[in-house]
């Protein structure tokens, strides 16, 4: 297939010209209609993959000028990979959408908040930490705590923040520090590198702590490189390949330097893992230095559940489980873990050794509607998609919903609070740490 190869040879950010052969793969059969959460709510062809691809095709052919209406149609995508997983022709929809978003940004510019966000994230650790500190100082003035939960609600009208939006509380201190941290395990049998991801570092610091504690108790030492940065998923989703590429280089450098070099990388964040495993290679394909490093790092990157089940082994973990969680537990499969990395069984295998009763919800792999910043920029559709997920969770009868994505945890927690539900949404590793008596 000469077409496909020529596309594969170039990295992302090559413009619409490189998409011709990929677009040709779409036969417009409409199968994507059956799985797209956004189309399911909005019901128009421009909100489903085949319609979006037709638009990108028309843009490339000069039939359609770059317009805000076109941009809005392309923004209406969670990049949940449902269509991609279902597509018989193997059309790389997310790649085409992000490339088209980049093209439109070149033509139309980017809205200021997004531009600022991508710049901030791409600026590296110093600025992000400063923003975090500013945010954590301002937060008590802007938001009030919701009693009995870790959530916050706004005090005043704020841009992009709905009255009923559940806002996660920033931790008092980020998990990572400026310098590399090393957590040695007694009788260490392996040493891994911990790629935290932003939400785990700034919000779910307990999850980060649990990763270290669980690994240490199982005899695995943990290195946390100090200069790792945002994984770049938001910038990549927005088609800012420059920012995403800079972040990829920063992280690849951090994960392949000094003590970290050549070690397995564990990630407790679905999107972070997906970026390291699949997207960095594409972003760095044309880079002679980082291209190879990206491909090599991808081979050594594991979701935390994947690492525990396949490299440590359930037989070695079970003896450390001190008490079983009471009540049924269900599992939500994050898009970037389930479809992005093909990981479904590993979190369940872990849950089954820590709980007495596992209750599978209906369609555990459907998107929760978070989709990076989609939940903020398209609040209404996101809420409708979330509503379905919440219904499945509640119907399962579980008291805890476990997942492997901090973004999903925030989104689902918001949905549960909205319904006044006491069901707890948490990370699988947190539950394991709890059952092992570590937290």
């Amino acid at each position: 297939m000469p077409h496909e190869n020529s596309v594969k040879e170039s990295g992302q950010g090559q413009g619409l010209a490189g998409l011709g052969a990929l677009l040709l793969k779409c036969t417009k059969c409409g199968e994507c209609r059956s799985v797209c959460p956004v189309f399911n709510e909005l019901g128009e062809e421009k909100y489903v993959a085949r319609g979006k691809l037709a638009l990108v095709d028309a843009l490339g052919a000069g039939e359609l000028p770059p317009t805000d209406a076109l941009r809005e149609a392309l923004e209406q995508c969670l990049l949940c990979l449902s269509c991609e997983a279902r597509c018989g022709s193997g059309v790389p929809v997310s790649r085409i959408i992000t490339e088209a978003r980049a093209e439109l940004a070149r033509d139309l510019g980017r809205p200021l908040p997004k531009r600022m966000l991508y710049r901030l994230l791409a600026s590296g650790r110093g600025m992000v930490n400063l923003a975090f500190r500013t945010g954590s100082l301002l937060q008590p003035f802007l938001f009030r705590r919701i009693p009995g939960t870790s959530g916050l609600k706004r005090r005043f009208p704020l841009p992009l923040v709905d009255r009923d939006l559940h806002v996660p509380r920033l931790a008092l201190r980020p998990f990572r520090s400026r310098e590399e941290r090393f957590f040695p395990a007694p009788d260490s049998r392996d040493t891994v590198v911990f790629f935290t991801g932003c939400l785990t570092n700034f919000i779910h610091t307990q999850t980060a702590g649990s990763v270290v504690k669980v690994l240490n108790s199982l005899g695995i030492s943990v290195i946390v490189p100090g200069d790792q940065a945002c994984c770049g998923a938001p910038a990549h989703a927005g088609g800012d390949f420059g920012a995403a590429g800079n972040l990829a280089r920063m992280n690849l450098k951090a994960l392949n330097r000094g003590r970290a070099e050549g070690k397995k990388v564990v990630v407790p964040c679905a999107s972070g893992g997906y970026m390291l495993k699949s997207v960095y290679s594409l972003l760095m394909q044309d880079d002679p230095v980082y291209g190879e490093m990206a491909a090599d790092t991808a081979q050594r990157t594991f979701d935390i559940s994947e690492y525990l089940v396949n490299h440590v082994g359930l037989g070695n973990i079970s003896p450390h489980v001190k008490s079983h969680l009471s009540g049924p537990v269900t599992c939500h499969d994050p898009c970037h873990l389930n479809r992005g990395q093909g990981i479904r069984e590993e979190p369940r295998a872990l849950l089954k050794i820590v709980c007495d009763e596992f209750a599978e919800m209906e369609d555990p792999g459907t998107c929760c509607g978070s989709g990076g910043i989609y939940g903020i920029t398209h609040r209404d559709t996101s809420k409708r998609i979330l509503e379905k997920k919440i219904r499945s969770i509640l119907d399962s009868g579980a008291g805890i919903v476990s997942t492997g994505c901090p973004g999903c945890i925030i989104q689902i927690t918001g949905g549960l609070l909205q319904r006044g539900s006491m069901v707890e949404a948490t990370h699988t590793i947190q539950l394991l740490a709890r059952a092992m008596g570590l937290v």
Binding site: L24, K25, G30, E45, A58, G88
Partner: protein, 466 residues
């Protein structure tokens, strides 16, 4: 489009349900056939009552109107002419009622087929038509195209399950055909006239569908044969031993090769044909029938027989059949596809002719389909993948359709005529028959506003995009 018509439609539907922006129109310019034409407007009726009003405005201004379900058709039936408008019926998606006492369901046309199936199955009922596109195609589209599917050998096609229709005519009048009664000889059978009419006679706004009790059990078997003729002869042998399978699918050697590669799970190298056979009904009868199927396959020289003991094993057996399209598309992104049917006893002869066509035109040609009901799907591309050889493909297409006709078969089995087989429709229909059909069309739609450019030879509705 006439600004007055736009204003009236916008007043009727509300501005958000009438789209004229290029961004919207481009996304309704195609179906799965590869034909394409950008319509002037896209309309989203929100209630059944909207439809006659829309049609009246379309008629008054002479604007062509093409009703569309999921746009999953393969013959351009849902592509409106560039002077026309598209009516997206998938918004009307209510299951009005499921009536177990009368074994029927009343639905709006936009209901997705698989969703109806799931809903009736929850009540222990069964809607048998199952086009391959069932997870996203709509009932309205299935009726308009008289969709077939895997279970036609035992249960028939969509037509056999439509008991009655509500249809909006070109005058804006609403008629009701058929009834809730299984036996009904009141007047002409207009229901059948509208089923398969490809949106050229009226717009379906409601349907009464016949349901069956959900079979208690089903069993699945996959058999590999050393020759296509042995596999094909298995079919009459099964009927002779009084077994009517619910599914009888076949794949030829090319399919076997590409699917094995795609799934990375090989069939034996010397297998020339695969039969996937399913029986359903009462558990005891099903077990007995499966035994019979097994025996016949063995007698016919099957090299290997796999049976499924559970639903997950059934999925494994079905995986190869379901993967054909995907596997072919991974090999080449675009294939020409023909959908023909022949009388079931002519299947071996048809398959033999396909082999000759494959050789004489230098094609990569895969043949698979519903051997039990005589419906073959033929996918083909030039063997040399760099060739852009449309005259050769055109000749091959001619020969494939001709071969079916020579065997008293039909040029379209379950995909319809649409815009892409209009030139050949006369190969199947003699002049007086075709003329009567055109007269019926003219009588019901004198100004030709309903889905022009379909079925009958005439002007092109859209251009072939691929």
């Amino acid at each position: 489009m006439n600004p007055e018509a736009i204003r009236l439609l916008s007043d009727l539907l509300g501005p958000s349900n009438l789209k004229t922006a290029l961004e919207d129109r481009i996304t309704y310019a195609f179906d799965a056939s590869g034909t394409r034409a950008i319509p002037e407007a896209v309309l989203f009726p929100r209630t059944r009552e909207d439809v006659p009003e829309i049609v009246k405005i379309a008629a008054r201004f002479g604007i062509p109107i093409t009703a569309r379900g999921a746009g999953s058709g393969l013959t351009g039936g849902a592509v409106a002419p560039s002077s026309g408008m598209v009516l997206d019926m998938s918004c009307l998606d209510r299951i009005i009622r499921i009536d177990p006492g009368n074994l029927l369901a009343e639905v709006e046309p936009g209901v997705v087929t698989a969703e109806l199936q799931a809903a009736v199955e929850r009540e222990g009922l069964f809607y048998p038509p199952d086009p391959a596109s069932g997870s996203f195609s709509t009932i309205g589209g299935n009726i308009a195209e008289n969709a077939g599917g895997m279970r036609a050998v035992k249960y028939g096609v969509t037509r056999n399950y439509v008991m009655g229709l509500e249809v909006v005519l070109a005058s804006g009048e609403v008629i009701h055909t058929g009834s809730k009664c299984l036996k009904d000889v009141v007047g002409y059978d207009l229901t059948t006239l509208f089923v398969g009419s490809e949106g050229t006679l009226g717009i379906i706004t409601r349907a009464i569908l016949r349901l069956l009790p959900l079979p208690e059990a089903r069993r699945t078997l996959l058999a590999l044969f050393p020759s296509m003729s042995k596999a094909a002869e298995t079919v009459p042998r099964l009927f002779k031993s009084r077994v009517v399978p619910s599914t009888l699918e076949f794949m030829d050697r090319v399919c076997i090769e590409v699917v094995s590669k795609y799934l990375e799970s090989g069939f034996p190298e010397n297998a020339e044909a695969v039969l996937l056979i399913e029986v359903d009904g009462r558990r005891s009868a099903v077990n007995e029938e499966m035994g019979e199927v097994h025996r016949v396959c063995k007698e016919q020289g099957a090299m290997e027989i796999q049976t499924a003991a559970s639903e997950s094993e059934r999925d494994v057996l079905w995986r190869s059949r379901r993967s054909i399209h995907n596997a072919l598309r991974r090999l080449r992104p675009r294939w020409e596809e023909e959908d023909v049917s022949v009388p079931i006893a002519s299947i071996p002869a048809m398959i033999e002719t396909m082999e000759q066509i494959r050789r004489s035109h230098g094609l990569l040609l895969a043949c698979f389909g519903h051997v039990g009901d005589g419906n073959l799907h033929i996918s083909y591309v030039p063997k040399d993948e760099t060739a852009t050889d449309s005259p050769r493909l055109g000749r091959a297409r001619h020969d494939i359709l001709r071969a079916a006709v020579d065997l008293e078969g039909r040029i379209a089995a379950e995909h319809g005529i649409g815009s892409i087989k209009r030139k050949e429709i006369g190969w199947n229909l003699d002049q007086p028959t075709l003329h009567l059909m055109e007269t019926v069309k003219h009588l019901l739609d004198p100004d030709g506003i309903f889905n022009p450019g379909k079925i009958f030879p005439g002007e092109e509705a859209g251009s072939h995009a691929s």
